[in-house]
């Protein structure tokens, strides 16, 4: 579904502040899907729509105080992320949001020799393009399950970077993490998906 191009932030923000219905419609049409996508990554499918709607109300309430240190889009996604994180905290006491500082290695240490070189190196995969990999129903399901099993902030990082194509600087603003933690979140997430594909491809 192609929406007409969105006006610049300079044009949109005053119109939103003036409660211009057309401007509301334009930003909701442009960003609501991305917001639900991000909310799903953090809180799961069941309450993602609700979180995104709650975030809209917060966006309009906070807009007069928006200092323009990022784009409107990045700022809106940050509000979604904060709304989602606070929902998670409300709903369970023992949430491990991102395990960015978790010490587990990227690759199972038993696959390396004592000198940290490969003992059990990666094997060839059957497929060597995304399309060839995704042709398999089993592989699509396996990627979906591996994404599902990621800690929330890792899933959010991979959603923003590899699915929505944001740059690292914006991702760190959205998730309120340092640049180095953001990169760790992303690499852990990708590595777990890689591992899931590997397990299937090496069968």
């Amino acid at each position: 579904m192609a929406n007409p191009p969105l006006p610049s932030d300079d044009e949109l923000i005053p119109r939103l502040l003036a409660s211009d219905e057309n401007a509301y419609t334009q930003v909701v049409a442009a960003y609501h899907g991305l917001m639900v996508h991000l909310a799903r990554a953090i809180v799961g499918d069941a309450i993602a729509d609700e979180v995104a709607q709650e975030a809209w109300v917060a966006v309009l309430r906070a807009l007069p105080k928006f200092e323009r240190r990022s784009s409107l889009k990045t700022w809106i996604l940050r509000i979604v992320s904060n709304t989602a994180k606070s929902r998670l905290r409300h709903e369970s006491r023992t949430v491990n949001l991102g395990d960015a500082l978790e010490e587990t290695p990227i690759v199972d240490p038993s696959r390396f020799k004592a000198n940290a070189h490969w003992a059990n190196p990666p094997a060839m995969w059957h497929a060597d393009t995304p399309d060839a990999l995704l042709a398999s129903t089993e592989l699509r399901r396996c990627i979906h399950e591996a994404l599902d099993a990621l800690p929330p902030l890792q899933r959010a990082a991979v959603t923003l970077r590899d699915m929505q194509g944001l740059n690292m600087e914006d991702i760190c603003k959205v998730l309120e993490v340092s640049e180095s933690n953001g990169r760790v979140l992303l690499h852990r997430a990708r590595s777990r998906i890689q591992q899931a594909i590997e397990e299937l491809e090496e069968k």
């Binding site: 639900v36 109300v57 940290a116 190196p121 990708r190 890689q194």
Partner: protein
């Protein structure tokens, strides 16, 4: 030169060009001589592309009626500043 384990720990930094300039030559030299790490990095690159094309990668499509419904709710809440939503 980094070990194979170092290569796997920083694969995304290498592919995303987030690696500090002074680490790149050692990393690159390792890849030149280590067929296993070349495969590992190639598979990481393939994984990233595959994630981007998987069915999960597409944001949900929002129907026009849903957009309208949200806009109406926002108009309501803009009219009633006293009715404050829950703090985030």
């Amino acid at each position: 030169m980094p070990s194979c384990k170092d290569i796997t720990e920083h694969g995304s930094d290498y592919l995303d060009r987030h690696m500090p300039w002074w680490k790149r030559p050692g990393y690159w030299m390792h890849l030149l001589v280590c067929v296993h790490c070349r495969r590992y990095i190639e598979q990481l690159r393939l994984t990233i592309e595959t994630i981007g094309r998987s069915p999960d990668a597409a944001p949900p499509v929002v129907k026009t009626e849903e957009v309208q419904q949200i806009v109406q709710q926002l108009k309501q809440s803009a009219k009633k500043p006293a009715n404050k939503p829950r703090d985030i």
